[in-house]
Subunit: 278 residues, 2 copies
């Protein structure tokens, strides 16, 4: 049987690859260099599923993913993946901490580990890299003793040693990824549904009227966010995640009633809820 093909936002060694491997370690993974390329790969059949960051990621702009889902793509969210962002300090196997005088990483990763770096490597020079994966490559080929902030996976890929674990200043810091596909997920009884909608005018009661439809059936909201619409100044698109699957009868009816109160309403997909470990 052919292995499932999954497109993801590359290159190898990034958090998106780590999330994709954790999701399906048997699949054939295809790295693409932009979020829109991942979406195109799934739309055209190069891959069956595509993994892109949707919240709080170093690697891609979340705005880009959301705009594609809202405006440009017919793909649905089939799964959500949640990965804790754990930054590690990697070196070549023979380099010790006192020797390190350059630290490579993506500027945001450097920012997220600022306090650790100031405390433990006050004299090391920070050097920017295009991704945490590229940082590890640069560190491994550096002539001067260096370190890189990167992932566990990048350490494995490049034969680096993990000198210090979990060095980010604040935790827990998570990134959320969406698995996109032509179909969303069948009901599992513990599901979530993402929708977006907007209104033709900005009367303040309109959003309330939609949220009341959910409240009346005790449907919990897991997330709500307003985003400027592309169509004009002062117009908004609302993104809402609610508990339940669109194929559950009661949820489907509520979604229909909500749709009737909006000028644009799009279901972005129903999929199993990520179970947080308490």
């Amino acid at each position: 049987m052919a292995r499932k093909k999954i497109a993801y936002l590359g290159p190898p060694g990034t958090f998106t690859e780590e999330a994709t491997i954790k999701y399906d370690e048997k699949a054939q993974l295809l790295p693409f260099m932009s979020i829109s390329a991942v979406v195109s790969a799934v739309e055209t059949g190069i891959a069956e599923e595509g993994v892109v960051p949707i919240e709080n990621s170093l690697e891609g702009s979340v705005t880009e993913t959301l705009d594609l889902l809202i405006h440009d793509s017919g793909l649905l969210i089939r799964r959500e993946l949640v990965l804790p962002i754990e930054h590690h300090l990697l070196t070549k196997p023979d380099v010790e901490a006192p020797q390190v005088n350059i630290i490579f990483s993506h500027p945001q990763a450097l920012g997220q580990c600022r306090r650790f770096l100031e405390r433990c490597f006050p004299k090391a020079q920070a050097v920017a890299a295009l991704s945490t994966a590229a940082a590890v490559e640069q560190m491994m080929s550096s002539a001067t003793p260096a370190a890189a902030i990167g992932t566990q996976r990048a350490a494995t890929l490049h034969g680096a040693r993990i000198l210090a674990r979990d060095i980010q200043d604040r935790s827990p810091n998570v990134t959320r990824f969406a698995v996109l596909a032509a179909q969303d997920h069948p009901p599992t009884n513990r599901d979530k549904t993402s929708v977006c909608f907007s209104f033709n005018d900005d009367h303040p009661g309109l959003l309330c009227a939609v949220l009341e439809e959910f409240a009346r059936q005790s449907i919990n909201l897991a997330k709500i966010e307003s985003r400027p619409s592309k169509e004009g100044l002062g117009r908004y698109v609302f993104l809402v995640d609610l508990e339940g699957h669109r194929e559950e009868r009661m949820v489907g009816q509520v979604l229909d009633r909500a749709r009737g109160k909006t000028s644009m309403f799009k279901i972005l997909g129903s999929y199993p809820r990520h179970e947080e470990r308490a």
Copy 2:
């Protein structure tokens, strides 16, 4: 008379500096290297105001600004500044386009200009920098003919030439900055108020009950966003921007009633609305 001192997220040549100069060109600007350092500078009196990115910025994590405002700081939002993100391609004055074979910038700026770069500089190598400002410095001191993606201000600061203007793939792309101070802004009749609140349980009607208080008085929402609370899994903090000033009698009464329906309620500040140019 002493000039007003404004702390901002540096270094010079970034979008935050550009927004700060546009806001008050006569002030003495003090660059600080992290968002929390800007906040501390204002809290301790080093500066009277501090400018930090609050939405969609290359330079700082918005999460960091919001977390500081919600949890850690008593500072208020005194103004909002909105700056269109305009990426320009800068070179040394004597370098022409066909010579360019390295392009420096912050990885996100490189990502936002990907299509332009693929079309016009398909063979140039992208090199990461810690900020768009640092990219321009690296370009100016590069031995090989190079270009950098940076701001108008960085071009002026470093004596670079603007070879191509407005090269980002999507526009309009704006960044929003907050001016933080001990006091928010007196009423101007065209104001906005930012609040955050949360609930002790996640009954779906609770958010609705708060939003209804606003709707009942026809108070427009300019933004709504839920963010995971730091206090526990499954708990949320809601961030809402509403039209009006907290010192207007009707707005103040509605805020009080809303406060009564929440377990945590914090006013982040009232300030003049940014006027969008249509």
